[in-house]
């Protein structure tokens, strides 16, 4: 996003990159996938745990209906095919963050197959096909302390619901990967199934990368890069990995199929030594759970209850509400802003004014408080009162901004704040005329210039009136009045 643009290794290269993503989205259910522990980030280590997610002998999983429903919303929103039968399978491997020695996942009958996510890349329409979407349980977390020969294991995250979204190798650049992910993230936010907070790990991504001569159709050996928890890292890791693979090929060496880890401190990817090279997950149907089945009607019900997704919202903002592309896109990308905007225009249909005020003043306030619009606690009704006051000329646009701050700090009606601050525009024409005439008499030079046709001098005179009235005059009205008086 704001990362310095590194030179794209593919520019002027004889190679092209073939990239596929495995995106992990943590669902925001109240409880974990297979037990009744809280699904929450940030608790004391090993306190959101129970016999089930600790894998204690004799404990059994019990699937969370809400997690399956959230997954289906995501699956349908991404246009996947949903079979009438889906099941959970065990994926067997050993790792300290996996207390049962297997992960409950989905193998050959995932919730969703196929699908596609469309987005804009540099203003052009682009799309990435999905291979599948499946639901699984997340693993715990291992941490290390420098200088000690041990690792610490925290199982709070073990067993939380995780959606895995696998793409086809349709992506050919870091920018495209970024654009796809941002859009996917937005879809998940709109669906309300995840907070997609990359810092907290609720959106994670593994990247499969290979390169091939430009224009070739075949796929070459790929490397998988893990541990990418920011958009910035994904782009940097991709750049690094593509360069590395080009260098290998140029030297006549082969790319090895392996898992690599991105190290943000050194900005490089490293082979993950120590992992058993040979994987054999020995998937089989999870006998402790029942399969899940859906009727066409159930799926249709979910499909029809999906919220408006980003693409549809953008369309509505531009074609129905008449917003320009740019502000419409800004609103859509900020889900909270879009929700707030929609609430505002319910109350006050001047969409452009509302959008303008949200994108400029309100977002500024939110940004300065390092929070989102919804956390400001502002009622759309009060906000609309302010926009209306400006549109109606009760307060100037400039002074309106001064009203916003106290609005966020108290519940006082907007009108009261305006009057307490003495910011109402002079609405009495005779009072205003008095001020204008006073200024004209004090500045005979500019008055002459205006009469001679110098438009700039009108602005000067208006400025003087605004100064005299400490901004409480309506500048448009003042200009009009000056014109009237001087042409009389």
């Amino acid at each position: 996003m704001c990362a310095e643009k590194k030179l794209d290794p593919l520019e002027n290269s004889a190679y092209e990159a073939v990239v596929g993503l495995e995106v992990h989205v943590q669902l925001n259910t109240r409880t974990k996938m297979f037990c009744r522990c809280e699904n929450r980030f940030g608790a004391e280590p090993n306190t959101n745990v129970c016999p089930v997610c600790l894998g204690w002998p004799g404990a059994l999983p019990y699937a969370n209906r809400e997690a399956i429903e959230q997954s289906l919303r995501a699956v349908l929103a991404c246009g996947c095919e949903v079979g009438e039968f889906s099941k959970f399978d065990r994926k067997n491997y050993y790792y300290p963050d996996l207390p049962k020695g297997y992960q409950i996942s989905q193998y050959d009958q995932p919730l969703g197959l196929g699908g596609q996510v469309d987005f804009l890349l540099d203003g052009e329409k682009a799309g990435v096909r999905l291979t599948r979407i499946h639901l699984e349980e997340d693993a715990g977390k291992n941490t290390h302390v420098a200088g000690r020969p041990v690792s610490f294991v925290d199982l709070n995250r073990a067993g939380t619901p995780l959606l895995e979204i696998v793409t086809e190798p349709d992506i050919s650049s870091a920018a495209e990967a970024g654009a796809f992910l941002r859009n996917l993230r937005l879809i998940m936010l709109y669906l309300g199934v995840s907070d997609c907070n990359m810092e907290e790990g609720s959106l994670r991504c593994d990247v499969n990368v290979s390169i091939r001569p430009k224009g070739a159709q075949h796929l070459e050996t790929r490397a998988e890069i893990k541990n990418l928890n920011s958009f910035n890292f994904i782009e940097k890791a991709l750049h690094y990995e593509v360069s590395r693979q080009i260098d290998l090929k140029e030297r006549g060496e082969e790319v090895v199929q392996e898992t690599r880890l991105y190290d943000p401190e050194r900005d490089e990817t490293r082979s993950m030594r120590g992992k058993e090279a040979e994987h054999d997950y020995r998937y089989f149907p999870e006998p402790d759970l029942t399969p899940v089945t859906f009727t066409r009607e159930q799926l249709e019900d979910i499909r029809s209850s999906l919220p408006e997704l980003p693409a549809a919202r953008l369309q509505r903002y531009t074609s129905e509400l008449g917003l320009e592309d740019y502000p419409a896109d800004l609103l859509v990308r900020d889900h909270e802003a879009a929700i707030f905007f929609d609430a505002c225009i319910e109350l006050y249909p001047k969409a452009r004014s509302a959008a303008n005020w949200i994108l400029n003043s309100l977002k500024e306030e939110a940004n300065s408080r390092k929070t989102g619009i919804s956390s400001l606690g502002l009622e759309p009704g009060r906000f609309v009162d302010l926009v209306k006051a400006v549109d109606d000329g009760v307060v100037s646009s400039q002074k309106g901004r001064e009203v916003l701050k106290p609005m966020l700090e108290s519940d006082k009606p907007v009108a009261e704040i305006i009057s307490e601050l003495g910011l109402e525009q002079i609405s009495d024409d005779s009072e205003l005329r008095e001020q204008v005439e006073k200024v004209l008499s004090e500045h005979p030079g500019p008055v002459e210039d205006v009469r001679a046709g110098k438009k700039n001098s009108v602005n000067f005179l208006v400025g003087q009136v605004m100064k005299e009235t400490r901004g409480k005059a309506n500048p448009g009205k003042v200009a009009e009045m000056i014109g009237e008086i001087l042409s009389a």
Partner: protein, 104 residues
């Protein structure tokens, strides 16, 4: 399907099973594998094309729970059965490869 039970096969399975086995044990398992394969060999004579495998035991499906929580265990109870811990964590020998989490 006829399968030759090789040392490599038995060794590979021991690795997958995370069992540290002596040569003698491996040889014993190799012999056992051969016997079991012979015993289950008679299944091959049974024609099962077109038979739906019995993937799940009961006819039931969609046995799901509501998204409602129950209290979790206190940390000291969670760690109690553990062979090595340093509250609030479980402790293991340092994981090589520095992965924060296993793959999903």
């Amino acid at each position: 399907m006829s399968i030759e039970v090789t040392d490599e096969l038995v060794e590979k399975i021991a690795v997958l099973s995370r069992l540290d086995l002596t040569r003698e044990e491996l040889d014993g398992f190799k012999e056992h594998f051969e016997k079991v394969l012979e015993y289950v060999g008679e299944l091959q004579e049974l024609e099962t094309d077109g038979v739906d495998p019995s993937l799940f035991t009961s006819e039931a499906s969609n046995v799901l729970r509501s998204d409602e929580g129950t209290p979790s265990l206190p940390n000291e109870v969670a760690l109690r059965p553990s062979p090595d811990s340093e509250p609030p964590y479980f402790l293991v020998p340092r994981i090589i490869g520095d992965a924060e989490s296993s793959e999903n």
